[in-house]
């Protein structure tokens, strides 16, 4: 088919504008966060990544998404392979191995894995056309599709990404009709699994963050020097922004380096400190729009694969955003989680753009035959 005609007639402008606006805000915010510091050219790099990201997204849009369905298992397998390669070639940063060096750049296969998982689950559900209520048995195969990459990610260890994978899986399963009995059984399993995870699977620093979180919820501020300190300084940044903020590049929490990882995991406090409540609401609204729009695209998709991919991408953005904002605003414990499109980081941006490319793809081909 002729792609030119499609772009003119079916291009999803609202999606494009929302994505571009968030990404642009992200670059501006990054400029402010690193201004005057040793990484003051980070925003230029981010711009390069963004251009690359738009390129990747354009490529993704150009290929009919049904090809992704056809090669679903290959894509999934490739991602698993890349994940496995991390343990062979990987670079270790702060005690966890997540990166593969590609020439000058480093790539984080776990980021790509999110897209791989969405495509794999979409392919599975596309062919599993059962429309009645599903039982636990029906979850075995998709469960295995999740378990393999999730296990590898946990081994790195990267708790945040593992959580996103699980959340995407859960969201997609909710799309199908689970029997109430199954839901209850799942919840029961979780109750049993949680203590096991706590005592046998979590590393000490992860437990510490969660403890610090509960302490803060309970009002007892224990240790401001470690995990609690991050959240505390994040709240100071957000709170001191007030209604209208301190102004672009005027955030003191940012400039004087009180925020940890201010351009990767904590860009929102930078934004909220400088642009206040009004700026924060504007940014959050863009994410709300993006997620709701992906649901709209799903509802108009012409097949199950397209619908599941759209919901999967929407879920990916939704959960990452919610966990990141919840973390920086002290509602959730501190886990490494980027704010999609807004955080500094090539791999995260690329996988997000890849997902959004798929979303655009589904959107543009909703009527095509």
């Amino acid at each position: 088919m002729a792609i030119g005609r499609t772009i003119r007639d079916d291009f999803d402008w609202p999606l494009f504008i929302a994505v571009s606006t968030i990404a642009l805000f992200g670059v501006l915010n990054l400029y402010s966060a690193t201004d005057g510091g040793t990484t003051s050219d980070a925003y230029v790099q981010q711009l390069y990544w963004l251009i690359l990201g738009f390129g990747v997204a354009t490529l993704t849009v150009a290929i009919d998404y049904r090809h992704f369905e056809r090669y679903g298992w290959v894509i999934y397998g490739g991602c698993i392979l890349a994940l496995a390669l991390v343990f062979v070639l990987g670079r270790s940063v702060r005690g966890s191995t997540r990166w593969i060096a590609l020439g000058e750049f480093s790539l984080q296969p776990s980021e790509l894995m999110k897209i791989g998982l969405i495509i794999a689950l979409a392919k599975y559900l596309h062919h599993d056309t059962k429309t009645g209520g599903r039982t636990l048995v029906d979850l075995i195969i998709p469960g295995l599709i999740l378990a393999l990459p999730m296990g590898l990610v946990l081994l790195q260890p990267d708790l945040g990404t593992a959580m996103v994978l699980a959340f995407i899986f859960a969201s997609l399963m909710m799309l199908t009709q689970l029997k109430m009995r199954s839901v209850i059984t799942l919840l029961a399993t979780f109750v049993v699994a949680a203590p096991v995870t706590w005592f046998y699977l979590l590393k000490d620093y992860q437990k510490e963050r969660i403890t610090a979180f509960w302490d803060r919820l309970g009002g007892t501020q224990t240790d401001l020097l470690d995990s609690g300190w991050h959240t505390q300084q994040s709240l100071v940044a957000i709170g001191s922004g007030g209604l209208t903020g301190k102004g672009f590049t005027q955030g003191t929490q940012t400039r004087f380096r009180f925020l940890p990882d201010q351009h990767t995991d904590f860009p929102f406090p930078v934004w909220a400190e400088e642009h206040g409540f009004l700026g924060a609401v504007l940014l959050i609204s863009l994410y709300v729009f993006l997620v709701l729009w992906s649901l709209r695209i799903a509802s108009q998709a012409k097949d199950r694969f397209g619908a599941v991919v759209a919901v999967g991408v929407g879920a990916m953005i939704f959960w990452q955003t919610v966990v990141n904002l919840g973390m920086v605003s002290g509602l959730l414990p501190v886990v490494g989680m980027t704010l999609p499109l807004f955080s500094y980081g090539g791999s995260s941006l690329l996988s997000t753009m890849l997902g959004l490319g798929l979303l655009m793809n589904v959107s543009m081909r909703r009527f095509s035959h």
């Binding site: 001191s240 301190k246 009180f258 649901l295 799903a298 199950r304 605003s329």
Partner: protein, 620 residues
């Protein structure tokens, strides 16, 4: 390509989208509520922390006012003390080793410091903490050289109180020590004192604390999360004052003459303890307030060890007691002047009438001894020769009530109102008091009172002021030790005028008679202070006295100084120069025995030095 079945399959999901959208909106709504809570409702709290995060406050201590004597000699001033402060939050793990080696600390000292730092609660880790006080020059040089590598440290120059005359006048001048929780609570403005500050704890330092203190200032620096100072980077959102200059305290000029004080110190060398007061008879200004022995205010300021404190309290000569006003003594024969004035004023006796002294007097079954056989003496002779028998006879005529009345007029048994430290009131026993305490009143009590024994207790300061009233024609003044107060810019902010307490109500001719008698105590061959007189020097007038010592309870028998501590106290109180009085004085030599032999020579020698060569120097 699309089939109907596919459409139906997609339709299976359709009913879920609405629930999902609702879920998404609710979750994001929750986040917005949370952000609103933090940014709109808790804004002030977080802004406060943000501002404290990026500022480091360095205190600029105020220079305490200087105290000078009437000639402008410095009595209390300040010298620089180099104190080391740290902000615990900024300390790097290996900083402590570094500091320990630069400061030349022992291992135990370093361990103690580590423990101290570990105990600081998180809430105070951003506040400055004093690590070392008054470090020596070598330590200062070592720290200054490596200052750039230790951004967590600050060296603050703090003025430390210094008393050039050390112990001289220490009771009056007082000392400082660290504020306690109570002081901080009492202060009207809670930020007046910070922990570690010093406060006037006694004497003038305490009395004029508010004036001397001044008020602290501060300098704020903008710092990053590692405490590095960022010069010139002042964010607009910072709404705090960055610099407040300290205001120095007021300077105080005393009426005291430190040269006179030094003269007393030299004259008292043969005796371990005693006191002396000199008053300007025209104004009530205190020229000397000397008490021996005394503690070192420099030592009191730095905090006494329990052992040192025990040594001070256990000292039989009681260095902690200000003997000029906090301790009371029998006035002994110095009191006869006032008994005589009472008799003259109420005309109960003819001063020319003579009494024969046979060396003792028998009244009822009791026999009272005089110091010698004076033969026939009139009132004048009795004062000059200090004849007890004459005064006993006189006392029977005058009675206890009159003696007390005139003693009161001269300021005995009444606080002088000097306004510094605690002051003893002294005591005059009344008839009722004797009845209550001894069951019944006997005439013997009146006789004892007349010669300054009995139960009459006076302070050295009271006796000096009473003699000033004799010398100046009957004006009893409130003693003053402060002449004026100057603002930090040098201008006079307050000058204290003489405060007359009352006229003692004695006729001038009677006072004149008494002055002549007091002159002859020294100048007549029969006078009790004749042997102490200044030959061809300053003419001094006064009354000698010897006060019995009440055996103190709890004194250990085996004490080698016990015999000494049972000796009587020697008094000499009067005025000088004899023919044109300028000052009145009272000198007490504890356990000095006879006043004529102990106290009078001291007074003579000091008055000779003070009034001998030149006129007393006035300030300015």
């Amino acid at each position: 390509m699309i089939t109907l079945s596919q459409r139906r399959e997609v339709g299976e999901f359709r009913k879920r989208y609405r629930w999902m959208a609702l879920f998404v909106v609710l979750v994001f709504g929750g986040i917005i509520v949370r952000v609103a809570q933090v940014q709109l409702f808790q804004r002030d709290r977080w802004s406060g922390i943000a501002q404290r995060n990026i500022t480091k406050t360095l205190e600029l201590p105020a220079t305490r006012g200087v105290i000078r004597d009437l000639a402008g000699r410095v009595v209390a001033s300040n010298r620089p003390s180099y104190d080391v402060y740290t902000t615990p939050r900024l300390l790097q793990p290996d900083d402590l080793d570094r500091i320990a080696s630069l400061m030349d600390l022992s291992e135990t000292e370093q361990a103690a410091l580590q423990t101290r730092l570990d105990q600081i609660p998180l809430s105070r880790r951003s506040q400055q903490l004093e690590l070392f006080r008054d470090i020596d020059r070598e330590q200062l040089a070592a720290l200054e050289t490596h200052r750039a590598e230790l951004p967590a440290l600050d060296i603050v120059t703090v003025p430390l109180r210094d008393y050039p005359y050390a112990t001289l006048g220490a009771h009056l001048i007082g000392y400082l020590n660290e504020v306690n929780a109570e002081d901080m609570k009492r202060a009207a403005d809670p930020s007046t004192y910070h922990p570690g500050d010093r406060i006037g704890r006694s004497g003038l330092e305490k009395r004029y604390e508010a004036l001397l203190k001044g008020s602290r200032g501060f300098r704020r620096l903008v710092v990053d999360a590692r405490g590095k100072s960022l010069k010139g980077a002042r964010p607009d959102s910072l709404e705090v004052e960055m610099l407040k200059q300290p205001v120095p305290g007021h300077d105080i000029q005393l009426t005291l003459d430190m040269q006179l004080m030094e003269a007393f110190d030299r004259a008292f060398r043969p005796y371990p303890s005693g006191a002396a007061v000199v008053i300007d008879i025209h104004t009530g200004a205190v020229r000397a307030l000397y008490s021996k022995p005394v503690y070192d205010p420099n030592e009191m300021s730095s905090g006494l060890s329990t052992k040192r404190y025990a040594a001070l309290t256990g000292d039989p000569f009681r260095p902690l007691i200000d003997k000029t006003m906090y301790e009371t003594y029998f006035p002994g024969s110095t009191f006869k002047a006032f008994t005589a004035l009472a008799a003259l004023e109420d005309a109960v006796v003819d001063p020319m009438q003579r009494v024969e002294c046979l060396g003792s007097l028998k009244i009822g079954r009791q026999k009272f001894r005089c110091n010698k056989r004076h033969e026939w003496v009139d009132l004048y002779d009795a004062v000059v020769q200090s004849c007890n028998v004459y005064f006993w006879v006189l006392a029977e005529e005058v009675g206890l009530e009159r003696i007390n009345r005139y003693a009161k007029a001269f300021g005995f048994a009444e606080r002088t109102g000097i306004g510094v430290n605690s002051e003893a009131k002294g005591f005059l026993a009344t008839r009722e008091w004797y009845e209550e305490h001894y069951g019944q009143f006997r005439i013997g009590y009146t006789l004892n009172t007349a010669i300054g024994q009995g139960n009459t207790r006076v302070t050295v300061l009271q006796l000096a002021l009473a003699n000033a009233a004799i010398a100046n024609g009957g004006s009893l003044y409130v003693p003053q030790v402060v002449q004026n107060v100057r603002s930090p810019d040098g201008s006079l902010s307050e000058t204290f005028q003489p405060r007359l307490k009352r006229d003692v109500g004695v006729a001038p001719e009677h006072l004149d008679l008494m002055r002549r008698a007091l002159i002859d105590v020294v100048e007549d061959e029969s006078g009790t202070a004749y042997r102490a007189r200044n030959k061809d020097g300053v003419r001094v007038a006064g009354k000698t006295g010897t006060a019995q010592v009440v055996s103190r309870k709890g004194r250990s028998e085996e004490s080698s100084s016990a015999w000494y501590l049972d000796r009587s106290h020697g008094w000499f109180a009067g005025f000088a120069p004899a023919d044109d009085p300028q000052v009145a004085f009272a000198v007490l030599v504890e356990h000095g025995g006879s006043g004529g032999a102990s106290a009078a020579p001291i007074a003579m020698s000091v008055m000779q030095q003070y009034l001998g060569e030149t006129e007393p120097k006035e300030a300015e």
